[in-house]
Symmetry: C2
């Protein structure tokens, strides 16, 4: 399996068995999430900003307004960190100390580069749309030249990256297993239950299949 | 309403009407979420790490192993950023360009301080437990002195902070409203549907009411 390099910065010091540098593991987590948190530094102050993303091969794509402070900072090539976190479960142990969560996260360190070439930019925007809700792009109005101009698209290499994963039941101290306390796992997931039509929707438009089938 | 100070660093440059410095708005978002992303800088490199948290008054509490690289860095008082993001909906517009998400996020800038005094530390751990799943703390084994020693608890002031919120339907270009494309909002939420008992659970232990009623 394709392994990313282990750098000091991406190697877990604690609980190293929860860590992974396998590209397939990292890609699966990235493909399942849809919000990342981007870390960057301006005048010594770290900022962490949530944004959508998509993976295209071994690169992560983000986008936004050309006026965005984050994108303007990132496109100068400063050091950045992009983190994607999936919460899978609450883990209820018999002791307060051993309570935990099951989760899968990916941390990517690197520097972003601007995607400026028109076709490449459109392909990246298509990937972002498909990642958010597959099937949507082909139905909607495509970006105009002015909209393309107003949009900044950045790409970050998925090279210095690692995943961290916790799965399974609580791990209690041996003596605590005899306690009369319920212990176990509460799996959690994001769902989309409902579809609220736009108040200005044209009459007679049915909800498309890809929207009905969207599971979150 | 109690307003936090507007600093250059916490004032939105784009779409300022989406921003808020109201403490009540900020607190509501913090109380609803349960994972934050903590940004900090080591040797020039920003890191963004997910972790649980709780709010106690006008402070945010995080905790973890005393061996954690993040906590060891933060407790020296370096500049940090803590971000909490709630995803409320996908927003499907008639143009690719106007697709969005409804979300509520809080960004807190500041420096953490160590909570070392025993009673204050226990109170913070209680708050973390209650924030994760109310009612759990009183049932489980309390932290031993050794466990307390192994746990680092940090507190961050919620002073230089702001919220950012998007709500409502898509906002399309006026010409696009005539399009024959379904548009609207897909509300999303985290749910806990299931309870998986620990394989080593003692027989005859019923699932507690606060676990059954936990909604995520």
């Amino acid at each position: 399996m394709n392994q990313l390099p282990r750098t000091t910065r991406t190697t877990l010091k604690r609980l190293p068995k929860r860590g992974s540098h396998e590209r397939e593991t990292i890609n699966q987590i990235l493909d399942e999430g849809f919000i990342c948190h981007v870390g960057f530094v301006i005048e010594g102050q770290p900022f962490v900003i949530p944004t959508g993303y998509a993976r295209v091969g071994d690169r992560l794509i983000i986008h936004g307004s050309q006026a965005s402070r984050m994108l303007r900072a990132l496109k100068t090539g400063i050091d950045a960190c992009v983190t994607v976190t999936l919460i899978d479960a609450l883990v209820l142990a018999r002791s307060a100390f051993h309570h935990s969560m099951n989760y899968r996260s990916v941390v990517i360190l690197g520097r972003a580069t601007l995607i400026d070439e028109r076709e490449e930019k459109l392909a990246a925007l298509f990937a972002l749309s498909e990642h958010m809700i597959p099937g949507r792009w082909q139905e909607v109005r495509q970006p105009s030249e002015a909209e393309l101009q107003q949009t900044t698209v950045l790409s970050m290499p998925i090279e210095e990256a690692s995943a961290k994963i916790r799965t399974g039941p609580p791990l209690d101290d041996e003596d605590d297993y005899a306690m009369d306390v319920w212990a176990g796992v509460l799996p959690m997931r994001m769902i989309a239950e409902n579809r609220l039509p736009d108040p200005r929707l044209q009459s007679g438009i049915e909800i498309p299949k890809y929207v009905i089938e969207y599971k979150g």
